[in-house]
Symmetry: C4
Subunit: 204 residues, 4 copies
């Protein structure tokens, strides 16, 4: 299997998924009795969810990219798990639209937020599974400059990334806004320059 | 003709087609009398069809990728047949939406399932035609490390892949669920690591 | 300007445009009084238009690809004209949907067909403009193995390609079916192996 | 981080965003009492906005491409700011649809035009931020053939690019047509061959 074409296909799928987020930005009907300003104001959950999900998918892409940089080749199992990972990424525009629709409605928003948090958790799980497959089960495919210690660091950091999404999913019981808030913090945290430098990033 | 650009274009088309599957995941209207949980539950055929079609297109991409790895160059006939193959792939989000809509409606689902199975059968036929064109009619374009025996193995395995989709199409007479079940099994079968190792995969 | 990135961007835009053609394949509402078979049958213009436009955009991609193979580099003017060419390609899913909608309605179909033919004519004109810019105005950017005679052959063949689309546009006065028929013939003609071999194709 | 994959992802996102502009070209319903010609005529703001936004995104792509050509590598901060830049590009099909819808309605068009101008201003700001980050804060990542004088020229020209979009946004108070007019002039200006040659373009 070609690593280059796996990257190209993944880039394509993630690029389309991230752009489809914009389809949830609806143009209010000009026939409405309310003013355009009022209509747009009422749609703020769509704008907030757009920004959070865009940053989140952008960060998925960055991490995906970093993960594939660490391997020298891919095999059937990695490519297949990659398809599953992409399947969870492509669901995000749907769960984003669900969250913003029900935040606006003010009803059913707990369930919608749980599904939103759950979709990010699922994506995170698929990511961990793929990372683990690469680093643990396929040592021959990993760049030989990566030490055992670095592998452990990567797996640990990856597992930690699961916690906030699990929290965000559970927090939907309290309020959909708490879920969106936690997901926003995660996106901002990853967007900021790393405080703990990635010990593997300098090797490549 | 450039093999690299043919791959890039195919990756792009398949990436968009696989992502468009998500457009069939509808956000239930917040105005509905039923609860969100009930509305989402009623849409389970969409989720099932999404997973099966996503895996199926993912596998098409893997096979497409493997097929082009075996050629050293492409010509007008191959590129043109590739366009026809892509045309059958791009139809899959439509036939998937058709199946899930009529599974939900519980009427017209036999025909919808036959069309779904038929669209996968058509894609499979286009794939076989392209593989045959490459391996049989254009021996000069095939990687010289592939032996005659390996070619026969590839063509045989390819032809066998047709059977389940033909079966799935015919089974729509019995029940749309049987069609979806067969297509699920095919996707799972190809997703699992190959029991019979691909004798040509180690050569490249 | 980088030729590789111009190709990648063009591949991306054409891949999305060709896939968006599938958005015009509508799933008939399950609530309709008519049977699914009848509903699908009534949509045949959509299927015919899908096939013709898919092949047409596929052939545009092949020709675009061949055109860029003949240049060794691109400059601002070429890249800008390429954006205009892509703008005409991206219109095709719209004009295709327009044609199929009004073929079904049986009214307004003359105008819809004229717009469909006109959109292909426009794309053809943008293609000729870009080819002419490359071959005539930027001789330094053209692969030096291409002779003056080959350039003239390419420009002549290109100009000839305009005729059927001009004819298809005018023929809309007679009938929308004649327009669709001519566009079908053009697609089939280009899809078949060339009878007059391209004297420049062997050079690269 | 890989510059090549950053370019590929950006190309993908921009290619999808530019193609989604076509989704705002609506096929008029065949059931309408008005003639197709009349219906299409009434949609001229959609066509005008499509052309202006397509050229604008095309030019963003050209500039993005030129910006990345000047760097030899990318780091986390650049890639992250690139995600933010892409987020503003992906909003353009939405603000384009908003403008054309409210130009047709003849009401709420001042606000819609201000949002349209504002979305281009925002994109321009993200572009300047990224260019400044690269040229000022990351001198090690910049191609060493670019002189300090050329950097100043690039930053100055970039900052100047902000003015017309700021003007277009403010001009929405007067008329939405003035906003669209200014944005058209900007697109045409950048599309034409540069009068002041880019002193850095010959170096690469």
């Amino acid at each position: 299997m070609s690593k280059a074409r796996t990257e190209a296909f993944s880039d394509g799928v993630i690029a389309v998924a991230i752009t489809l987020l914009a389809l949830d930005l609806h143009v209010p009907s000009a026939d409405s009795a309310a003013s355009l300003a009022h209509e747009l104001g009422a749609q703020w959950p769509s704008y907030a969810a757009y920004v959070v999900s865009f940053l989140t998918i952008g960060i998925i892409w960055i991490n995906h990219h970093a993960m594939l940089r660490r391997v020298v080749a891919v095999d059937h199992a990695i490519v297949m798990l990659n398809v599953v990972l992409l399947m969870t990424v492509v669901v995000i525009p749907f769960s984003t639209a669900l969250l913003s629709e029900y935040l606006k409605a003010g009803e059913g928003d707990h369930l919608a937020a749980a599904i939103y948090g759950g979709s990010l958790l699922l994506m995170s799980l698929a990511f961990i599974a793929m990372n683990r497959l690469v680093l643990v089960a396929k040592p021959d495919l990993v760049d030989q400059r990566i030490t055992e210690e670095q592998k452990r660091w990567l797996l640990r950091r990856n597992a930690l990334g699961l916690t906030p999404y699990a929290l965000a999913t559970v927090a939907a019981i309290l309020s959909a806004y708490v879920t969106l808030g936690i997901c926003t913090l995660v996106a901002v945290f990853y967007a900021l320059p790393a405080t703990t430098p990635d010990p593997t990033s300098l090797d490549m």
